[in-house]
Symmetry: C2
Subunit: 297 residues, 2 copies
């Protein structure tokens, strides 16, 4: 099970075609065919059915393992190179949209002041992309956020051996249009809203699956999905009555037509964490330290 074979396997599945995978990988169709044949012989099973090309049951299982495996392989290489290579005067910072707070900007400014020559790159992406990028060593530091029970760490998949540092915990609020019947309440329970329509905006609000897990029900069902990374767009959608969302209250600041009502049950917070690999270099370490907050017991 050579990683190369696995890589072509996932490429074939993704493209649904041997030839397309070959093009992407810079191989001939023949080579791809031989790769798949090698895998299938090795495992003694057929992994793909052809015409149309798609994974068999066994192939599905392999696929589920292959991607994380390749990711960890990259992570290993990146991790070794990190301690070996000259610690670069660069800081590549990636974060999810809601993690971009003034506090982060200030801490970053502080880091630049104390290391004048520092090259800094900042990037805003979805949560998964941030985690993957940090694991693969593409970014030196990542800021991700999500919902969790108070002082619980975020449950990040594939965040293998990254270091977590708690950066912030904020109360969550239900975002409703101004004229919503519940908009004047002092607090809301998720149970009050089982029949509501929700906007699923995984990158820019509390992801609905996380809420369902926390609420131990399948209550919040999406009526609209928003895939961008622009917070204002989401808030505008809420104001227009497309559905509700749950996010830290601050996102509604300055936007008319929307109210943020504190979420009282389940007891969840919006938590931000900094992620980095082993020894991310002095700049990233200093930044992470500056961002770290003391979790209240």
């Amino acid at each position: 099970m050579d990683p190369h074979l696995l890589r072509t396997f996932v490429a074939v599945v993704r493209h649904g075609s041997f030839s397309a995978a070959a093009r992407q990988l810079g191989y001939t169709q023949s080579a791809v065919s031989q790769h798949i044949a090698a895998l299938e012989t090795d495992l003694g099973t057929t992994l793909l059915h052809r015409r149309p090309v798609g994974p068999t049951k066994a192939g599905d299982r392999l696929l589920e393992h292959a991607a994380p495996l390749l990711l960890r392989l990259d992570a290993a290489r990146a991790d070794v190179l990190r301690v070996a290579g000259t610690p670069p005067g660069r800081l590549e910072l990636a974060m999810t949209p809601l993690a971009a707070t003034p506090r982060v900007a200030e801490a970053l400014a502080g880091a630049r002041r104390s290391a004048p020559g520092l090259q800094v790159g900042v990037r805003v992406e979805g949560r998964q992309a941030v985690v993957t990028g940090v694991v693969a060593g593409e970014y030196t530091l990542g800021l991700v956020e999500g919902v969790a029970a108070p002082s619980d760490p975020l449950r990040l998949s594939e965040a293998g051996n990254l270091t977590h540092v708690a950066v912030a915990e904020e109360p969550l609020a239900v975002l409703l249009p101004d004229d919503h019947p519940l908009a004047r309440r002092a607090g809301l329970r998720l149970g009050d809203l089982v029949d509501a329509r929700w906007i699923d905006a995984p990158d820019v609000a509390a992801p609905l699956p996380d809420l369902r897990a926390a609420a131990q029900s399948d209550a919040p069902r999406p009526s609209l999905r928003y895939d961008g990374t622009d917070v204002t767009a989401l808030v505008t959608l809420v104001a227009a009555g497309h559905g509700l969302a749950i996010a830290p209250r601050r996102v509604t600041a300055g936007v008319p037509g929307v109210r943020a009502v504190p979420l009282t049950l389940p007891r969840l917070v919006h938590r931000t964490e900094a992620l980095h690999g082993h020894d991310p270099g002095p700049a990233a370490a200093a930044l992470a330290a500056a961002l770290a907050f003391q979790a209240r017991p």
Copy 2:
């Protein structure tokens, strides 16, 4: 970064010798030397210093990744073979010592009744060995236990994409010798026992590191380490005054000279979970279902 190279790398580090690793792997010393050289050239760093042989800093980082990587590779193969190969009439059950309860034995008996020809193998091991074995497909079903907050899942490292099924939650008790000043209390808090001497018996009682994590202090410090898997031995050690331990109260049943006082704070339970890969076959699935309990909300 061929897996073969990684495998020889970890073997070399483990043995502290190229030649020993070569013997174990069925290679020549030369081949091992070439493997390491290949890795070092590929990564552009020295991974080992020689005479004596040991990992460099970069090598340490690689080592940390290599073992899980190889494990997951085996897991992938096992997982594919599991769905491919004929579902065998075998059930290989592995469990940690405290998971071996009458309830498990009964459920196993039930599984054998409903599948008369079933070949069953049972094995008791340490927690890590059980998890590793299930991941690698060596066992069809694993039962592991540990301490956790009520209705929280166990935090298992390297349990990647295994299915967890809650099997039992039991209250925890502090095990003390009969003549201990606190032995007559109705309940004990961990804070009452900061100065006590503890027995660290990771396989057969609540592992001290888990307790420290839960208590958010470094309080329970070990005075004696017990590495066996025999519960009675631990209880006997407690009775003899070698130190305290935390375990489900039932382990003291019938043993004189020991008392089990309920642990009231932190609020922790002894939790048992069944682990299996995707589609472990009908026998294991039935057994897991029979063991599953309804977690109280």
